[in-house]
């Protein structure tokens, strides 16, 4: 280290705790921001995937019902930036061994008072 840079390094080092604190501050704010959207479960949350399978595997309309067996859900992706109340995802679905295609699903936290704690709207892509 030459003589010129010594005072500069000294001054940087004397502020190292301030830099560390500032870095932690920025990280903390980032975590706050991330937490805001984390209340909506992730696309690959096992419970969400199970509900998705159940929704796709049975339809009850009036007295008619049908049961298909969803054998696998794969390539789960988030396709849009989440908001504080919803998250849009897409996943490939296989029903009874044959590929059904890609399903888009939106995980939404309904308004308070709703029977559903979490709604899952699906559409075939």
């Amino acid at each position: 280290m030459n003589k010129l840079s010594r005072p500069f390094m000294h001054s940087i080092l004397s502020y190292k705790y301030y830099f560390a604190s500032a870095a932690l501050f920025v990280l903390g704010v980032g975590l706050f921001s991330a937490a805001r959207t984390s209340f909506v479960p992730s696309c690959s949350n096992p419970h969400v995937i199970e509900k998705l399978k159940l929704i796709l595997s049975a339809q009850t309309t009036g007295q008619v019902y049908s049961v298909n067996k969803v054998t696998s859900v794969f390539d789960v992706n988030q396709i849009e930036s989440p908001t504080s109340s919803s998250r849009t995802c897409a996943a490939g679905v296989t029903i009874e061994g044959s590929e059904l295609g890609t399903i888009n699903y939106i995980i939404t936290i309904p308004a308070p008072g709703s029977v559903e704690k979490l709604s899952l709207n699906t559409s075939l892509n």
Partner: protein, 206 residues
Amino acid sequence: MDILPMANSVQENRKTKYFKAAILLSGPAIFLLGGSFFIYSKIASNSLASSEWTRYSKERNNALDSARSKELAEQIKSQKEADKLRESVDRTQSYFSDIPIVVRSSDGATLINFGKLINGEPAQYSYKVALGQSIYDVQGEIVARGNSLYYSDSYGKSSSEVLSEGEIRHEKDPQTGNLRLTFITSKNLGNLSKLGDVRNFDFKYK
């Protein structure tokens, strides 16, 4: 009270020290708060997904069970109805198919093709009736409409036109081989019988 210049300087140094400490601590504090909030939101979202999945799974299973029960009930109901209908058809078929093409009654009446009524074909009958000095030759036809049998014949003045119509009650006794037909007049254009007249014929079919 006046503050000594030295004491003032000490106070300023303390203020600066607190300010620096606050700045140094704010970073870790915000990081800790943000981290805790992030972890809490992750746990909360997982718990939300778990409870929703449980609720939905229960409701779905109930709905499926209900739909299955309804369908099963419908199946049983329709099966029972089908069984009942088949039993009725079997009974009717056995009832009619037992009767030979031509049977005669104890008083000389003839009944033809009674067993074909089940196929929608008419049956014929004939008998002679003595009224006063005259003997009338009555010709008639029996048809089935639904579960009822109806007749029309020439019981009356003339032998060429339909003068008497009505319903037939029938009773079969497999033990004695006897078929009783009871003709109940509901329409009479002649003057030999009246509305509500009842004529019985006993045919031996065995």
